[in-house]
Symmetry: D2
Subunit: 425 residues, 4 copies
């Protein structure tokens, strides 16, 4: 019996899907200890936008370590942090005229969401936050309250209050839910907020993903999210965009909302922002809300991770010009076109996505599980998401070589055809 | 105006106490960008038990990165993780006959505490958790509910329910609270739990630190914490030890409770466990409770940080023999003896601690602030903790050179004498 | 200064609208201490369906008292209670094939609602209850959570959790809210309940009035409430009908829902059920849910009020034949026809209602206040309800003499015309 | 099968202990439908301080009804209400220099407690209320949160938050809990409130009974409750005295606290205040807190019950002179002396009480149940209270004839001796 079976908690999960021991990794490939290579369409759950062991970043990090750069700095100033903040300001914020402050916290997505929720409540003096069906925001108690999936919620052991869930407004790609539902829901909320006898008062914030990645790659309808942003403004609520999984270039521009007509008060970033897969989380907060923080009110030991500042700084180079983002658009288009025939072959399937994140909705968790399994056996790492795990999520590194992308898609198509045909038989 | 002033959130705190930009760090010294060196008695808030840029660890990490080892692995198996788990099992768990499972989660202390609280509630079907006055457990909503300090609690913006606070049982070093208070409180709880008409029912867990580091270096009374452990057992509640700041060698043995007569069901570790200051968190959970987890119920993107596994594995070498722990006891004794005269010189001062963590209670937050300031000016990094920041916490790296320790203590004593004499004048 | 001004709490309200001291009352008239008579279209907020000091009832009560009948009996058996229960069973329950048990509790409507909410939670093991915009259910904490009006909710001083509010489905009489809104909302709920990733789970119960009396005399759409009843059944939630204000004959039959296609699991009764205006509350509970109660789990000192049993027994005589209910229908029709012209004269006005409860929506609270004031000055008691007090509620005793009804309506019409014309001027 | 078995809710309780149908009642006797008489040491759970069908009151009420006095008046002014308020002010408030306002609400004790809790939270802006072990305050959600007994709490179906329970400070009569416990607990609270890092902040109010009637006739220690009153004052919390069961003369003066050194901000009255057993509830509120109410913020249909005003006004005559209160003291002393020998005969028994409320603690619920049963069989109504129903509560009408008191005590003593001897055998 391996040490994992002997001593690792029963909660372990991905290792059950991929029952090997990984040893090496490079760009879009992981290699197990027996030397078998896997094409990676999972990318560390959306962390590794720039591939495993991106050579530009590993070099910078090794240099930094070897020069005895500060590795752990809480919220003290360091030269590495300054470099990251300046680069981020010049490359990302200024061109978008975003006046936002940068807040660093415990370096995980859930910590970022928790900080955003606190600040919204603080700044408005309201308690309720509105989140959305199929939304995923993390596992600590505050963020978990905003996460929709009952599997995760059930583990809390206490009631999850102060967050209410309303329907997410999917765009037309999504066939599971009608696109009108989201708009009706916003209209209903607006009516209720305006009525002092409705039993419902305006919230501190709306917390939303532009693409619900864990929720099944549900892409927000453009009109719906614009209406949501307007509703927030009208009722004095903050708009918090959780861009943790689909930000940092995943959709073809730095933020997932660069082509949307919204005005986020807080943007939560984590996952890809540290470049190399080392932890980092950062909220962008409009100054008028940021000023509600008192020094040190929301702390976190690992909020200054200089390896992540260094690698994250290198990652920002990808956004100094349009090259990578052009590639993302092209490869994303290739993914869609390559998958279209298999979707059309099997009526039960549906494809949705944007940039280089796609979800293939198989209709059933068991079906998706079989496809994931066959892909793994054939050397491709993919993972299921959405209700009951029915959607296969495709999030290869943005830097994936064309050949790997092609090979991976071929594996996926074969596995899908196999499973669908076995079912039909 | 620097980028920090322009763009960093108003929540930044330590950088206000140490208003320089740090560039390099090595063992017990940090160097700012102007080349000024500071002796570090703060150690990254208790993370850097083995010093900044511990050469054994940086070498291992650089080798690992350069070999394209997997850097980010969620809860997939990796060779680095296996090595860490096997080493931890052999060096730490087996010699103590601890059957505990290892659970990895989002790599911050607060995530570890959240997971422990969830599991205790899950395993018992109870909701309430009892925490203690002056306890500090983190900033995310669940952990924050257990944190006692009103400054942090006030930032939540919503009520903090399902955790109640009772007095912590300090040992005799602590003069702020009488040692009987803790025992009386346990007696009172035992009576109430036994009485179905008391309005109070037994909790899911007691969540406690053996030394309240942030709370002002309050050391638990040995009899009290043994009685607490027994009470937990008697009423079917879990005992959760938050060893995040004072575990991993800080007190002179790996766990802070190695010399206590308690039987923790869950031990929360973070901070020092990753060796080098990169994030990692791990709960040790008795198998009978761990089995209540379903796969993936409490996730976290960064729960597999292989740099931390590699550096943490090197750190475990320090526990394969007694050398470092002997040193900790000696240096700790040196700290106590060196500080004793200044404590005796000024009636308002009090010293408490164990191993290499000490708190000098100055009686007032303003006084402590002045001492911290004068230390910084003289080249020593210390930080205040406790109610209103009245306690100066001393947690140098366990690997601090004797000369640095001596020099740092001298600076502290001078600053203290200065401030106390100015006040008297 | 009167004793009321000196010593009565600032919370007093109706006495501010009717600033006289009442002395006598008979059927549809109240007389103040100066001998001035008022026609009563308010009927004790819907309590006095059978008029003030109904002679049949006062005689029975006086006889009962003079014979030393038990006046206060908690939930002991008394002969008066037996008589009431047998009469109620024969006259009300059996003809409707209702298997419901009768539960008596603290004799106010809010206590009835609290008991119903408890039992629904108990029987389902769920916590959330769904109530509706503009719903009114009482002032104690549980019932208040279900009450929609922010004016009342704001007085709680703590968060009101475990109840969520969704739009009430008004019928076409109501012009404030479109009738589709209610149906859309039920569809949305059904979808969310069916989806384990929606963030919303089925509730313990739906708590609803068939006519929202305090909410502004909003009559539920017949199709909507049938769909709600079906939804409850489909998702395993209880349907609780709060018939406290509009039951006991107000709408032209004993229950307000006798002509609706719904199947209530619990019916809450109070107000009119005690006949004479002495307190009584009773829930009707389906046996399969009632069995979840343990003896004495929900107590209340005044749950056995024998004066109310005696008078309530006499009141049930009105339901042994159809006479009174026919009258209610006729008088109600007279009210509607008499008021129709004034509604049509003033575009801002709207009328809604059923049986002998009507609401004249004036569009503004200030306008309604003026009309109420002018009515009072002219000798008619009416009261405002609905959002901001914009709706004038008309609930005369069901036993009102035709002449009083005619006279009262004339006063109301004059006052309304006056106020509307003054505004126009 | 009787209508009660067929149709009354399973929650019925007292009728299971007294399985007869009562028909008549007079002073301290109830008569069942078969003509069997029972001496009543239960007095409607403490309502009937002046006996069943007190002739002075029934006459006044009959006269009032026959004169068509207003019976139901919400919070409109009536002549009957004025008379009650003036009498109460002159007889009760003025002699005690109590500036309190009178607030009338839904006429049950639990409604009074709910109103008090709301106002305390409103006036202080704090949420937490501190209640006490063994306290009983009612069954609606707010009051239930303050009720200690797990049997009642368990029925809520949702968490009971915003109230914490601490030990009640019993006087020396009570042997179950040491008298020091209460004082230690207050000391502990004072310390924690003073410490901003304790995790505990001062509450909105302390809600306490001077004698915990339902809780097992636990009499508060005089020093303890004085210290509690002082603590409330010192930390800006309100002191709410729930005098619902032991006020209105039960202890030998109008308020149970007339001989205590406390300064209640709110006094909750119900049960006996209506004189005859018809419902009424009234809070006495210091003007500085009362002013926080807005008109109509806490309503209740039955808050103006004129029968209760009329009978309650007659009841106040008993307090215009000392006669009845002298009798109470004498009869109470007689009860204590008569019971003393049986208490001494059986080591397991303990007696506590004051005025004319006594609790005989039998040590076990089963034992108490047998004694209650044997008493009933012998023609005496008593009831069990306290943890697991182990205490037999003795609360005869204050107006009980000496012969009935003697006869009832004899029955109780016999039953007790019987049960204790059977056990010993």
């Amino acid at each position: 019996m391996s040490i994992f079976e002997q001593r690792e908690s029963a909660i372990r999960a991905y290792c059950r899907v991929y029952p090997v021991v990984f040893d090496k990794a490079k760009n879009a490939r992981q290699t197990d200890e027996n030397g078998r290579e896997y094409i990676d369409f999972f990318a560390g759950a959306g962390v590794l936008n720039f591939g495993h062991n991106n050579a530009l970043m590993t070099q910078a990090v090794v240099d930094y370590i070897q020069s005895d750069g500060v590795l752990h700095s809480l919220d003290m100033h360091t030269t590495a942090k300054r470099q990251f903040m300046e680069h981020f300001t010049e490359t990302i914020l200024k061109p978008r005229h975003m006046p936002h402050k940068m807040q660093f916290m415990g370096p995980t997505g859930t910590n970022a969401v928790e900080a955003a929720m606190k600040l919204a409540r603080r700044a408005t003096g309201r308690q309720e936050i509105v989140a959305f069906s199929h939304g995923f925001h993390g596992m600590t108690l505050g963020a978990l309250s905003a996460t929709a999936n009952q599997y995760f919620r059930g583990a809390a052991g206490i009631p999850l209050n102060y967050v209410s869930h309303v329907p997410f407004g999917c765009d037309a790609q999504q066939t599971e839910v009608s696109p009108e539902v989201g708009m009706e829901s916003l209209t209903q909320l607006r009516t209720m907020y305006a009525d002092s006898s409705s039993g419902v008062t305006p919230p501190a914030a709306f917390l939303v993903e532009t693409i619900q990645a864990e929720g099944g790659v549900k892409v927000a309808d453009k009109d719906w999210i614009a209406a949501l942003s307007q509703l927030a403004k009208d009722v004095g609520a903050l708009l918090i965009i959780d861009d943790i999984q689909v930000g940092v270039g995943r959709t073809g521009s730095f933020f997932s909302f660069d082509d949307l007509d919204i005005d986020p008060d807080i943007v939560c970033l984590a996952k890809g922002i540290g470049g190399l897969g080392t932890p980092m989380a950062m909220n962008l907060v409009k100054p008028e809300f940021d000023q509600h923080w008192l020094p040190g009110e929301h702390t976190g030991t690992f909020r200054g991770q200089d390896i992540s500042f260094v690698a994250g700084d290198v990652a920002l180079n990808y956004f100094d010009n349009d090259n990578l983002m052009q590639t993302v658009k092209q490869l994303g288009e290739q993914m869609r076109q390559t998958l279209q025939p298999v979707i059309e072959r099997h009526a039960a399937l549906n494809l949705s996505g944007k940039g280089m994140i796609f979800g293939m909705d198989t209709g059933h968790g068991d079906r998706a599980k079989q496809i994931v399994q066959q892909c793994f056996d054939a050397g491709l790492l993919v993972s299921a998401c959405g209700t009951g795990g029915r959607v296969i999520k495709l999030i290869p590194p943005l830097t994936i070589p064309a050949a790997d992308l092609t090979a991976g898609l071929a594996i996926l198509i074969d596995a899908t055809d196999n499973v669908m045909m076995q079912e039909a038989a």
